[in-house]
């Protein structure tokens, strides 16, 4: 692409069209090119994709990859299992949801960009040309996102037995129309209703929707494939009543050529959606052009991110936390870790998915009736009830690894210069914040589910006691091996979240498997189980002692004399 454009008949015709619309072709080309390049380099998704501004592979590339994975999992889970209508319904619904969240996340980069004032504000760019270039850029962005989300459903869906021959163009058109309508609605809501409001926190949360969606589809897909009741196929056979009222249902019926619908209905739905897309696009163009004309320096993108105010250090309001920690370094470590977990949405969103595997095992066991009570005897149906509790310890190393990095790592000199003499106590405080604030709620959930599944409160509670002991021991190992000397002092780097801790995770998994086998055979006998718990407690105490020794300050020469 050159600034002057290629001297082809098509290019000349396009230039003529732009000139007719009072848009400067040369400026338009240059602006669109710059905007597309900035789309690739923008950093809104940088935190959820762990990519820096200088990375070769841009955040947008990873986002497109994530979208493709969402489409792939969706298509694979439903391919050959459901009919064309249900396939189209689910894929179009997910496409609309993801498009909406992408637009909200990138609103300040793709839709409204007050930063442009710095770059093009002083140049003689006509407002009409600027607005046209921004709209073209927005359209390209929406098209790329829609293409990545719907590529797999469009091609794989064509292979369904009941898919009509025109599936590929029909589905593509439906995805395009539904995406444009969704995009138009989102932009109008944000431009009109939420004008001038700070929504940076919600933007940051929504940036994780793709990652969460991949997790949900990945684990949910596995559950669906193992589901003895075949929930997906039965849902496709008899969809819930509310589905019939969704606009995507009407589109899906039109795409799948539902014979229950007369031809007029198909035409009416497609025509209605097309009309809505055109009207919404016109409204968006009018509204945004008006907003571009009113852009002033100092608007939303320049506003500093609001963080949760810091509580006074050491003054823990919760009595439980005061009771859990000792004054001094331990309480400081606890306060720091818990404050960072509460303030930094990005850190919280990195930590919680680590427990996804535990929750997935629990859900899989519960819904596939493989959550047998090990106290009633060793059975292969109790594998997932054991896996759910022993998978908790391998979740801790990634969390401790995440606590090493922070987007505010440049401020870690404050911590480096702090008078923290007892490193073990400080690390112990961080461990307590992680285990009591993150792991204990998961343990409680596990216990509640076991109580409900087995209708035996004592067994439900006793079953998770070894899990707590392993979490305690694993936390001690992590604070001594994974946690950096100065936490929150490293920048976020791709691959750093798992690479360095692969060995620790592998060791935890191996030990957990061994413990699960022992648990399985000792649980039916009460004395055997009591001895097992005692042995685990002793092991945890030994691990804690070793961690304390490792983190103890080095003894100076002659100090012992």
């Amino acid at each position: 692409m050159t600034l002057a454009g290629e001297n082809t008949p098509l290019s000349r015709a396009f230039d003529a069209l732009l000139t007719r619309l009072s848009i400067e072709p040369r400026m338009f080309r240059a602006l669109v090119r710059a905007f597309v390049l900035m789309d690739f380099r923008n950093q809104q998704f940088a935190r959820s994709t762990a990519t820096g501004p200088k990375a070769v592979i841009s955040p947008l590339f990873w986002v497109l990859g994530q979208n493709l994975i969402v489409g792939l999992i969706c298509a694979v889970v439903m391919f050959a299992r459901v009919d064309a209508f249900f396939f189209a319904l689910v894929c179009l619904g997910i496409s609309c949801l993801m498009t909406a969240t992408s637009l909200v996340v990138e609103f300040n980069e793709v839709v409204l960009t007050p930063d442009d004032l710095d770059v093009v504000g002083h140049l003689p760019v006509p407002l009409r040309t600027y607005a046209a270039a921004r709209m073209a850029n927005l359209l390209v962005y929406v098209l790329v996102v829609l293409a990545s989300l719907n590529l797999y459903p469009a091609i794989v869906g064509a292979g369904l037995r009941d898919a009509p021959w025109w599936w590929l163009p029909a589905y593509s058109a439906a995805a395009l129309v539904s995406g444009l309508v969704t995009g138009g609605i989102v932009i109008l809501i944000y431009a009109v209703v939420m004008r001038g409001k700070d929504y940076s926190q919600s933007q940051e949360l929504l940036a994780w929707v793709q990652v969460v969606m991949i997790l949900v589809l990945f684990y949910g897909g596995q559950l669906a494939l193992r589901d003895a009741q075949q929930g997906i196929q039965m849902a496709a056979y008899r969809p819930p009543e509310f589905v019939h009222w969704l606009p995507t249902t009407w589109l899906a019926r039109a795409v799948a050529a539902d014979v229950r619908w007369p031809v007029q209905s198909h035409v009416g739905v497609i025509g209605g959606f097309l009309l809505a897309a055109v009207v919404l696009s016109a409204c968006v163009a009018a509204e945004l052009t008006q907003l571009y004309g009113r852009l002033q320096p100092g608007s939303a993108t320049w506003r500093p991110t609001r963080l949760r105010p810091l509580a006074p250090p050491g003054a823990l309001s919760a009595p439980l936390a005061t009771w859990l920690t000792r004054p001094g370094e331990e309480r400081t470590g606890y306060w720091l870790a818990w404050t960072m977990l509460r303030r930094d949405v990005n850190l919280t969103m990195r930590c919680w998915p680590s427990f996804g595997i535990v929750l997935a095992a629990l859900a899989l066991g519960y819904f596939s009736s493989q959550l047998a009570n090990p106290f009633l005897g060793a059975s292969t149906k109790g594998v997932l009830s054991l896996a759910a509790i022993y998978l908790l310890a391998p979740c801790l190393p990634p969390i401790f690894q995440h606590l090493n990095a922070s987007r505010e790592h440049a401020a870690s000199w404050v911590l480096r210069s702090a008078p923290l003499a007892n490193r073990f106590a400080f690390a112990e405080g961080i461990r307590k914040a992680v285990t009591y604030r993150l792991a204990v709620p998961v343990l409680l959930l596990l216990s509640i589910v076991f109580i409900i599944a087995w209708r035996d409160p004592v067994a439900g509670v006793l079953h998770v006691v070894p899990a707590w002991l392993t979490v305690w021991a694993a936390g001690c190992v992590c604070q001594a091996t994974v946690l950096a000397r100065i936490p929150f002092s490293q920048p976020l780097v791709r691959g750093e979240s798992f690479g360095p801790i692969a060995l620790v995770c592998g060791a935890f998994s191996a030990v957990g498997t061994g413990l699960a086998v022992v648990h399985c055979f000792l649980a039916p006998s009460l004395p055997g189980y009591a001895a097992y718990l005692l042995a685990l407690t002793l092991a945890a105490l030994i691990v804690r002692w070793m961690a304390a020794r490792r983190l103890a300050p080095p003894r100076l020469h002659g100090a012992a004399v």
């Binding site: 690739f40 380099r41 050959a80 590529l151 091609i155 794989v156």
Partner: protein, 201 residues
């Protein structure tokens, strides 16, 4: 290639294009492997006459002989009923017909719904056996279910299954009419059976 060149718009677009091209290839491969996907569509039926638990053996024997076992079936747990259903589907056509009649007369709501699920999610052989099960059940709810399944099969363009379901619906219609008009009287049931026999003939 330098890092600066890799960060140009041209390279980033090429990279994105490559990603899309690989995705298209993967999607086409998935479509080509449809048979592989369809091979995994079946219900796991573990129970047979020989493997059914001993506590259920007596009931299964009663059902195989066509004798009433309603009381025993009502007292059973859902998993035991499931075992008996799987055992029934594994039997040959005559015994299956006898068992299906007894099962659906004792617990129509459970066994008709169970057979309906097999028709929806089972393998080809399982689907046909489940249709036969419904056909032999001789109850009105089975007729309605078979009708719905027939519509579904036509929509999903499964001609063999939809023809089989149509035939089953025709056979079951007399029972539906009888139960609608006569509200479960045994004499009408017998008449229905007779009509069914006539239809068979």
């Amino acid at each position: 290639m330098t890092k600066a060149e890799m960060r140009t718009l041209r390279f980033q677009l090429q990279l994105t294009g490559l990603l899309f091209a690989v995705s298209v290839a993967c999607a086409v491969t998935i479509v080509c492997c449809r048979g592989l996907f369809e091979r995994w569509l079946f219900e796991k039926h573990a129970a047979t006459y020989d493997s059914v638990p001993k506590r259920l053996q007596e009931t299964v024997d009663l059902l195989r002989r066509g004798e009433p076992a309603a009381e025993a079936l009502r007292k059973m747990t859902a998993s035991d009923q499931e075992s008996i259903y799987q055992c029934c589907l594994a039997e040959n056509a005559d015994i299956r017909a006898t068992m299906a009649r007894s099962l659906c007369q004792a617990r129509p709501e459970f066994f008709v719904a169970r057979a309906e699920r097999t028709v929806v999610v089972g393998s080809r052989d399982q689907k046909l056996r489940a249709v036969e099960f419904l056909e032999c059940s001789q109850c009105s709810s089975a007729c309605q279910t078979v009708g719905e399944l027939g519509k579904w099969a036509r929509l999903r363009q499964r001609p063999e299954l939809s023809q089989r379901l149509e035939a089953a619906e025709k056979k079951l219609k007399p029972f539906a009419k009888v139960e609608k008009s006569g509200q479960d009287s045994s004499s009408q049931g017998e008449r229905g059976q007779e009509r069914a026999k006539t239809n068979d003939a």
